[in-house]
């Protein structure tokens, strides 16, 4: 393949980043205070919560399933932790963090086992765990519990060097780690393979059930991290944390290249998806769009993004077609040359 074609394809594959860039440039000129260090940090920080959920959903979608329970895990994991630790005499924040993560992972494990082993429908199953968890957390924490241990709230509240939010750093780092995992390690590739064709992967010796379970566990862990961020940010745990975030998590993952069919998507793309959604919210507020219209405007922007993304697929095919034609002509010339000689 020619170098140029390669670059074109690379750009297309990462179209969400181009969209992000375009939107960024537009706002830099058109939106007051958008292009300030502070606002950019804000966008990162504000996207971190949704970003964790986008990644969680994206990974589950990679293996061809879906998980509606992540936004409930976000409230459930810190909720249970706070209930347990607040009854302790001298609660250790590190134990509490560990516990939150473990609860998240455990929920993922349950989801994963039922879905991979017992072949439960992932939509229905995670819908039921979502409703159950939301119900339980409402029952157990009807009133929010504020005043967290500083270390527990660090992820959501802490700042590196007093300025840069820890959550924003963690957000980017986590995405980079997963990007590496999924593009460069066998562990990560197995997710894409399983999602791409479960049967073929099974036949070639991948333990596909384990991969699917692992995807749900990772999603649960990431949801728990999101829970830590949310709790830290409000310095409290409430039962309504994360309500209705799951839809946008899907949107971010699909914008980032994911698909319900599985086998698609890259964490780096999903990072772009999460940031794009965050930036849309931010820019609409900064522009001072009428509050009653913000929602419609947001829908409109997502619409545009979809159309551009759609265009990408067409363009991709076109570029390959061009490449092919070119090769064809070249070989034709070659053979003509060899006949002549």
């Amino acid at each position: 393949m020619r170098r140029r074609t390669k670059i074109q394809l690379f750009l297309l594959d990462n179209l969400v980043w181009i969209l992000l860039l375009l939107f960024f440039i537009y706002n830099t000129f058109a939106t007051d205070s958008f292009f300030t260090m502070r606002n950019q940090v804000n966008i990162l920080f504000q996207s971190s919560l949704m970003g964790m959920l986008v990644l969680a959903q994206g990974i589950v979608m990679m293996v061809g399933e879906l998980d509606l329970s992540i936004d409930a895990t976000l409230a459930f994991a810190p909720g249970i932790t706070i209930l347990v630790t607040s009854s302790m005499v001298e609660p250790s924040p590190f134990l509490a963090i560990l516990m939150t993560l473990m609860i998240g992972g455990l929920i993922g494990l349950v989801n994963g086992i039922f879905i991979a082993k017992l072949r439960a429908n992932s939509f229905l199953f995670t819908l039921s765990t979502q409703i159950i968890m939301r119900g339980l957390v409402l029952f157990l924490i009807p009133f929010s519990i504020s005043g967290l241990l500083p270390a527990y709230a660090f992820l959501g509240r802490g700042r590196v060097g007093g300025i840069f939010p820890v959550a924003a750093v963690a957000f980017v780092v986590i995405f980079l780690i997963f990007e590496f995992l999924f593009s460069k390690t066998i562990f990560g590739r197995k997710f894409l393979l399983t999602g791409g064709n479960r049967k073929a992967s099974y036949i070639s010796g991948i333990n596909t059930s384990r991969v699917i379970i692992m995807a749900f566990v990772i999603a649960g862990l990431l949801a728990a991290v999101a829970g830590l961020i949310a709790a830290g940010r409000q310095n409290a745990v409430s039962n309504s944390m994360g309500t209705n975030m799951v839809m946008m998590a899907f949107a971010g993952a699909i914008l980032g290249g994911g698909s319900f069919e599985g086998g698609m998507g890259k964490p780096i793309g999903m990072l772009g998806g999460a940031l794009l959604l965050g930036m849309i919210d931010n820019a609409l507020t900064l522009k001072g769009v009428n509050v009653n219209l913000v929602s419609a405007a947001k829908g409109g922007l997502i619409f545009i993004a979809i159309m551009l993304d759609h265009f990408r697929v067409k363009l991709n095919a076109y570029i390959l077609y061009k490449e092919n034609l070119k090769n064809l002509i070249e070989t034709a010339e070659d053979s003509a040359g060899s006949v002549a000689s």
């Binding site: 205070s33 949310a230 940010r233 931010n282």
Partner: protein, 351 residues
Amino acid sequence: SADAEPPSGGEETPAAAEEPAETGTKKIGMVVKNANAEYIQAFIIGAEETSEALGIELLVTDAQGDSIKIMDAIDTFIVQGIDGFILAGAVDLKTLVPGIERLNEENIPVFALDTSPEGGYVDMFLTFDLVESSEKAARQMIEGIKSANNGEVPEGVVVEITGALVDMFAVECNQGFNNVISQYPQLTVVQGEGNWNNDDSYNRTSDLFTRYGDEIIAVYVHTPDIMGAGAVAAIENTGKDPADFFISGICIGLEGMDLIEQGKLYAVVEQPALDSAILAVNYLNDLFNGEAIPEIGEVVEVEGALWSPGTVVENPFADGGRMMILQAPLVPQEADTDNPNLWENRINPGQ
């Protein structure tokens, strides 16, 4: 204490459904707006404790913000033969009217807390007047601004973090806030939809601070109980002190109480949630026993109660009925944070 009797086959006529209620314990049906808000939990606790003390059976259903669910619940309650009904908040106040009318047809007394249906006959609407309370909070915020600027209201930007815009509650909050703020043309209001949650409230506040930075002189949060912490955290994150922005609004909640104590919230009107539920059940009980409840024009006074005096007037929203306006104190200006009569201090969240 419910009847253990299974329904017998012959009595399936609609009239029969109400039969057992005449003889056995009285039943009250209550629909709440959305169980995951703290003040709604206060409604539930108030109603539950009072009913238990009075030997009344209380049925509670969560409408999750949906008028259709409210009407579903009403239909089901009627089948169960309730003797009284309490509506504890609703997102939309017109769309549930047919449900209220059904209750009226069945001669079941209707009480409303928090917000009043805008139609049908409501026996009594117990309120702390959202518009008026919002005005009160907004006025106090203006006082705060004045105190920091030698008694003047300077030019500047006021941030308004709204509730979910589909909600009538948010509309009334906005109305009260606007009534006050519009008297000061030098103030520019910028809105962000906080959507009744701390995350959105955080995001919108920090966006607006980025945009308007030092021009901002005050922040009004519709309901600090569920959006205050987000706004406070956002301001703190810009390196500013929340106390400088006179954050005000209505509804405190447990988290809000902490923030007021820390001086991060400036003035919040307490919603007499617990008391209004207790009053509603008590008055319903009075009706069950054939006793009179306060009529229009009366003023109810109870020694020491924060809500006292309660004035009973004609309900301007519904098609008739009483409206009892309860007092709602500004915290900490009118009542201390440790005032034992605030519901936030009366309930025990560690249950």
